[in-house]
Each structure stands twice: as C-alpha cells, then as structure tokens.
C-alpha cells in the first residue's frame, strides 16, 4: 500500500520535534539541577560556616545542651538541619533528632572528608527525615586543631519538584508544538499534493484522449515546470495523433474511393481491410466481414482459391474470378504478398477489377461479326446458288426458272432490307452523334395512328387486332419519322409473335417527366436469359424461328437507337408463355437533342450500347 504524502512528512516532523525537545530538556534539566545544587551547596557551606563561627569556642561535649539548643534554634530559623559532630564521629547536637539516638557519623562520606580537613559534600536519602538531602560538612578548627564538624543539610526535593513542573510544561508545550506541526504538515502536504492531484487528473484526461485540455501552470517552480512539460507533451501528442488520424483518413478515403475492389487478408486468411468497391462486388458490407476469415465471410469458391494462391505464391499472381450470383460477375484479380517493414509476411493484398461489362462487350462484338457475316452471307449464297443452277441449264426450264428467279428476288429483297436497316442505324447514330436530330413538339396520337396504319396489312393477315390507346392531347418533342419507324418495328414484332387472332396493345401514358409508350403482346414471350442482349444487332432469341418470320435482326437495335436519339430508353419485360411488354420511354424535355450517355447508363438491364 502506498502512503499518502502527509504520512510521509508527519513522522519526520514528529521525530525532529521529539529529538529537539528531548535534547533541550535534558540539557536544561542538567544545567538547572547543577546550578541549583551548586547554589544549595554554596548556601549550605555559608550557613555551616556561620554556625561554625558561632560555636567555635564552645565546641565541646560539655556544652552539648547549649549546642543542641542552638542547633534547634538555627534549624528552625533557617530551615536548615544542622548537625554538630565530634572528631570521633559522635553526634553532639542535631536540629531534628536527639543526639543520643543517632549513631556514629564518622563514616558518612561528607563527615569523613571534613574530618580530613576539607569540605565534604554528599547527597543521599536520609533515614532520619526520609527525604533526599544534601549535606555539606565543614571542619571546625581552632589553631590547627580539629574541634569537630559542622554539617548543614537541606532537602533537595524542591529541585525534583521544580524539574517535575518543568517537565510537565515541556510535555504540554511539546504536544502543542506537535499539534501545530501536524497542522503545518497537513498544510504543506496539501500544498504539494494538490497540484500533483490536479496533474494526475490532467494526465488521466490526456490518457483518455482529451489532448486539447491544458493543465494550469501554478504552484512551486518544480510543479509549474512539470505542468508545462506535460502540456507540451500533450500538444505534441495531439499534433501527432492528428497527423496519424489525417493520414489514416486520407488512406481510408483513397482506398474507399477506388473503383477497383481492394481486399487485404492476413496470413491466417482473415480479412483485415476491404474497401467499399470490393464489398459491393462481393455483396457484403465492410463492417460485417472485417476480422472474419475469408471462408466465413465470403462464400465464393473462386475468390477463396485465389486468396490461397496469392498467399502461397512468392510473386504477384493474376487470375480471373467468376462470382456467381443473380448475375455472374467476371473479375480480374491481382494478388501480391503484403510484407512488413522487416520483410515478414503480413498477408496478401487482392485487387479486384470488374470486367463483366468488358466481357459482355467482347461477346457482343464477337457475336456481331459472326452474325453480320452470317446474315449477309445467307441470301448471297442462295442467290449465287440459283444463278449457278440457271447457268448450268435450268434457264431452259421456264417453270423452274421463274421459281428460281422469284426466290432470288426474295433473297435480294432481304439483302436490301438488311442493308437499308444498317443504313438507318448508321444515320441515326451519325445524327445523334452530331446532335443534329431535329425534334419538334407534336401530338403523339398522330404518330401512333400512322404506325398502326402501316402495320394494318400485316395484322390483317394474322387476324391480329391492334388496340391503341393514347391521350389525344399528349404532345412531346419527337422526331416523327424516326419514332414512327420505332413503333412500326415494335408493332411488327408484336404481331409476328402473337398467335392467330391475337391482340396487340399500344398505349401511351405520362410518367415522371417522361412519356411511356408500351407495346404489349400476348405471344410466346422471351426467355429471361435473352433479355439483356435482345437489343443487340442481329441478336436472335430463337434463331430458326425469327428468320422464318422474316426480319433482319436489326429491328430492335434500331428501336433502341431511336430511343437513345430522343434521350430516352427502351426496356422489355417478358414472361415465357405469357407475352412481352416493350416500353419506350421518351423524356418530356428534350435534353439538347439527344442524351446518349445518360440514356444508356440508366438502362437497367446493362444493355450494351454503341458497340452493338
């Protein structure tokens, strides 16, 4: 247990006071009693001399009565006990006791030394008066003849009493001093420890991170210096902490705002860092996976494999990762070991690049090239084949020749259609690229009616009923010929895929800042997997069927480009067996002719643009 400050200084105080008092008392008492005893001894000697002077001539046994009387009288008057002793040691007279009852005094030290001619002194307890007595004995001489000894005695108890009183006073005053010392001690310890207390609280505040607080600089020089030093420390710490926090935040921000996913794992495959992009790619939140093992947090076999590979390889590794989900994500991953300052392995850093879009575009381009060659090649092959047949003599057979020529005509028409469509596409693209598409605000009903009219023949062949529904006052900024083309394409498709005597619905309605034109059929519908690529050029959901129904494979691509030229978009929802709804969305406010990029970015199905 640690002692409080006060308990450390008080014993020292007390010890010092006690030591001083004892020393002083001892010196004082010794000097006092010495002085008193010397004074008493001198007084006794003088009295003894006076008494001796009176009795010198009558100092003999025969005058014992007179001497006795004198001794009693002297004793009473001076308060001193006188004893007259003969050289033989026999007591001649005494102030307090009858001489005959007193023993021989020759051996008493004071008398013994007086008998030798010097002054004898002694202090001892007297059995006669039962007190501590001081005895002074002087020899009485008459012409070098020792007549006897006069002894004067006084009780010395008064000095003891006096000393007792002095001791008492010293004890009492010592206590008072100690009390005062205690108070002073408390005061001093408070003075010293209060700033220390304050400093402790300050240090605790610093420890809690309240580094902006400052200690008050006051008190003694040492304490003030300490406080200043601590304040400086706090300031420095605060600065460094701020720097560290700022750097950390910067790194955090850099990491977080990276488009690439960044994932760091330690050697035991625990996730130490994951940025927002990576978390979004994987479909988790950074908070829920941090600190957990990768197996636990991210159940993606490919990614786990890659992390293991990155951890076990010495050099940076690279690989493709497929994340399966509702929509498969293709990631390009780079992994490298994380090394600490001294080169020890800390884990691995994985950088993930989403290449899904690139992959899709690659597919689109590859398919486009294959498709366009195929689409162009088919009619040409047919035409060439029939021309060859005719050259080889079939021209002589008029029946067959006519039929062949008809087929050749159909194929040539088809080729023409495809090229027309490609030209339309090219024109729309060019116009919208140069932002030259003229838009005029006009009634939508007219356009819809025109489109329905254009498809009337086709509908009549299949006995399909076209129902159209458009608010007559709906006027929007459009390019009428292009929009009509788009609607015709959609209606043609709808009619083609409708059953005999089916129904096609075209309706326009207001949306938020946009007009939506829905073309709906109740035909065979489109499988989910085709939907994202439906608007690609030459993409066919059902290859055999759609070509049989006629069509260039460019119709929907044209619709999409027309929508984009208007700053809008086209989407499709379809359920196999129940039919499809194509929705053409055109913004009410024409945004500077076209809105190519915006229109495509907001396309929900990630429909590739430009390249298709």
């Amino acid at each position: 247990m640690r002692l409080r400050f006060i308990w450390q200084i008080l014993p020292a105080f007390f010890f010092l006071i006690l030591l001083t008092l004892l020393l002083l008392t001892w010196l004082f008492a010794r000097n006092l009693s010495n002085f008193y005893l010397e004074e008493t001894a001198a007084g006794l000697e003088a009295r003894a001399r006076l008494a001796a002077f009176q009795i010198t001539d009558s100092f003999a046994l025969e005058h014992s009565d007179r001497l006795d009387e004198l001794s009693i009288r002297l004793g009473k008057e001076t308060g001193t006990r006188f004893t007259f002793v003969l050289p033989s040691g026999a007591v001649l007279a005494d102030s307090l006791e009858a001489p005959e009852r007193m023993e021989n005094h020759a051996l008493r030290p004071e008398i013994a030394s007086a008998l030798t001619g010097t002054i004898g002194k002694a202090t001892r307890y007297s059995n006669t008066v039962h007190k501590n007595m001081m005895y002074v004995a002087i020899p009485v001489q008459n012409q070098d003849q020792l007549l006897g000894v006069v002894r004067a005695a006084l009780p010395v108890t008064t000095i003891d009493q006096t000393l007792g009183i002095v001791y008492q006073q010293i004890i009492v005053s010592g206590m008072v001093v100690m009390l005062i010392a205690t108070l002073i001690g408390i005061y001093i310890s408070r003075r010293i420890s209060r700033p220390l207390e304050e400093m402790r609280r300050g240090a605790e505040r610093f420890a809690r991170g309240e580094l902006t607080e400052r200690l008050r600089v006051r008190g003694s020089e040492e304490i003030a210096a300490l406080a200043t030093a601590m304040n400086t420390t706090a300031y420095e710490l605060d600065q460094r902490m701020r720097t560290v926090v700022r750097q950390h935040n910067e790194q955090e921000a850099v990491l977080a705002s990276m488009v690439e996913g960044v994932l760091a794992v330690d050697t035991s495959e625990r996730i130490i860092r994951i940025n927002r992009a990576a978390a979004a790619l994987i479909g988790v939140t950074p908070e829920e996976v941090k600190g957990r093992s990768i197996q636990e947090a991210i159940r993606k076999a490919d990614l786990q494999r890659f992390v293991r590979r990155a951890l076990s390889a010495r050099d940076p590794v690279e690989g493709d990762i497929v994340l399966h989900g509702n929509e498969d994500l293709y990631l390009q991953a780079h992994g490298s070991l994380l090394r600490g300052e001294s080169g020890q392995e800390l884990g691995a850093l994985i950088v993930l690049n989403d290449v899904t879009r690139l992959r899709r575009l690659e597919n689109v381009r590859r398919d486009f090239v294959a498709n366009v060659s195929h689409e162009l090649k088919t009619p040409i092959t047919a035409i060439k084949g029939f021309v060859e047949t005719l050259q080889e003599g079939a021209i002589a057979d008029p029946d067959n020749a006519t039929q062949f020529l008809e087929i050749m005509m159909r194929q040539a028409d088809r080729l023409n259609d495809i090229i027309d469509d490609l030209l339309i596409l090219a024109r729309i693209e060019q116009d919208s690229d140069q932002q030259e598409l003229p838009l005029t605000t006009m009634s939508l009903t007219t356009v819809i009616n025109a489109a329905v009219q254009a498809c009337a023949n086709l509908a009549a062949e299949k006995l399909v009923h076209i129902e159209h529904n458009c608010p007559p006052d709906l006027c929007i900024p459009i390019n009428a010929p292009l929009l009509e083309q788009a609607l015709i394409n959609l209606l043609t498709n709808a009619i083609k895929y409708s059953p005999q005597q089916g129904k096609v619905l075209i309706e326009a309605s207001h949306g938020d800042n946009k007009t939506i034109i829905n073309v709906r059929d109740w035909g065979c519908g489109i499988d989910k997997i085709h939907l994202p690529r439906l608007f690609e050029r030459f993409y066919r959901a059902d290859k055999a069927r759609s070509r049989k129904l006629g069509g260039t494979g460019l119709g929907l691509a044209i619709v999409k480009h027309i929508a984009q030229a208007h700053g809008g978009e086209v989407t499709v929802t379809s359920t196999p067996g129940e039919g499809s709804i194509f929705a053409l969305q055109i913004p009410l406010k024409a945004e500077s002719g076209n809105n190519h990029a915006a229109g495509t970015n907001s396309t929900p199905k990630n429909i590739p643009n430009q390249e298709d």
Partner: protein
C-alpha cells in the same frame, strides 16, 4: 493442448466452409448450365466433383484425427460430429449437382422440349435453401436453420406436383418421353438436394443446441 485443439478446430471450420463454397458453386453452375444448355459448363461441374471428393476425404480424416488425438467433449465434440455429417451432406449435394450436369448433357442431345413445370423457380428455391443452410452454418444462426427445415416441405410439395405434371405431359406427348424423364429426374435431384440442405440445417441446430431434432419437422 486446448489451444492446439482450438487451432485445429479453427482449421476444420475453414475447411468445411471452403468445401461449402465449392459445392455451392458447383450447384449454381449445374443449374446455370441447364439454363443455358451449356455442356462445357456441365463438364466443368462434373470434373469439379473429383476435387470435392478429395476435400471430403481429407476433412473426414482430419475430423477422425482430432477425435482420436484430443478426445474433445461438449461443444467441440458436437462441432466435430456435425462437421463430419455436414461434410457427408455436402459431398452428396456435389454428386447430385453432377447428376444435374449430366442431365444437361442428356437434354442438349435431345430436341428442345418445353418443361412442363417451373423447373428454374424450383431450382432457385433449392439454391436459396442451400445458401441459407450454409449461412446458418457460418453465422451459427438458429433462426435461419429452422427456416430451412420449414422450406423443405414446400420443395417436397413442388416435387410431388411435378410428378403429376410430367405424367400428364407424357400421356399427351409420348414422343417427348426422353426429355420428360430427364426433367422428372431433375425435379427429383433438386428435391434430394433440398433434403440434404435440411440435414445441414439440422446438424447446425445440433451443433448449437446439442439437441437432435431430426424427424421432428
């Protein structure tokens, strides 16, 4: 020694989770191959089963080693026993995914035939069950495990309906018999996988509660 045991159990957990990720991927790809009629993907699924089998054997040996060396008790014992069983279930799911992939190859060789029931909706349901059961394993989530046990009834009912639907279609179009039988097998595989995910969920519940709740749902 308990620290060492703890580390081994940690390792065991990692292994079973890795296996579960691979199996989940296998199943997903099997279904995907079926959707796209992608035979090369189906082939990849079939080949992956070898990897899964190896992992299963390794895991089982690891479990037996820990049991023999440390003779764990209470939660550790339950964990290892559950891992043994889940390991088994996962391997079976992988086998069934292979079966599905084989059906893809079979169907790809046949004329496209409309599916008489909502196969992919059923597959989606089973996939979500698998995902939930594995999530419950990762997070030791009792609620999720219970949910999986209840979902199994729905899949069972769907399979029962499918049986009737396929039978009707066979009667109407006997010429589509081959494809229809493949579809029926698919329904059955999916139903089996759903059962196995339920087993996993039950093992998770056992691991957490120490109560065997099999045959009560």
């Amino acid at each position: 020694m308990p620290l060492y045991l703890q580390r081994q159990i940690e390792d065991l957990k990692k292994r079973i989770l890795t296996l579960s990720a691979v199996v989940e991927e296998s199943f997903h790809q099997a279904i995907h191959s079926l959707e796209e009629m992608d035979t090369s993907l189906a082939q990849a699924v079939i080949e992956r089963d070898i990897e899964v089998n190896e992992m299963e054997v390794d895991l089982e040996e690891e479990c037996l080693k820990i049991l023999a060396l440390h003779q764990p008790v209470a939660i550790d014992l339950r964990f290892i026993v559950s891992v043994l069983k889940i390991n088994n279930d996962l391997e079976r799911i992988s086998d069934l995914s292979v079966n599905i992939a084989q059906r893809t190859r079979g169907l790809a060789a046949l004329k496209p035939t409309p599916i008489p029931f909502a196969l992919f909706a059923m597959a989606e349901k089973v996939e979500s069950m698998l995902k939930k059961s594995l999530d419950s394993l990762v997070n030791l989530d009792i609620e999720l495990a219970r949910e999986v046990c209840h979902l199994d009834d729905e899949v069972d009912a769907i399979h029962k309906d499918n049986y009737g639907l396929v039978k009707d279609q066979i009667r109407r179009h006997p010429e589509q018999l081959d494809a229809l039988i493949e579809y029926l097998s698919l329904s059955r595989h999916l139903e089996r996988i759903a059962d196995l995910t339920t087993n996993i969920a039950e093992d998770v519940l056992y691991m957490i509660d120490g109560e065997i709740i099999r045959h009560t749902y």
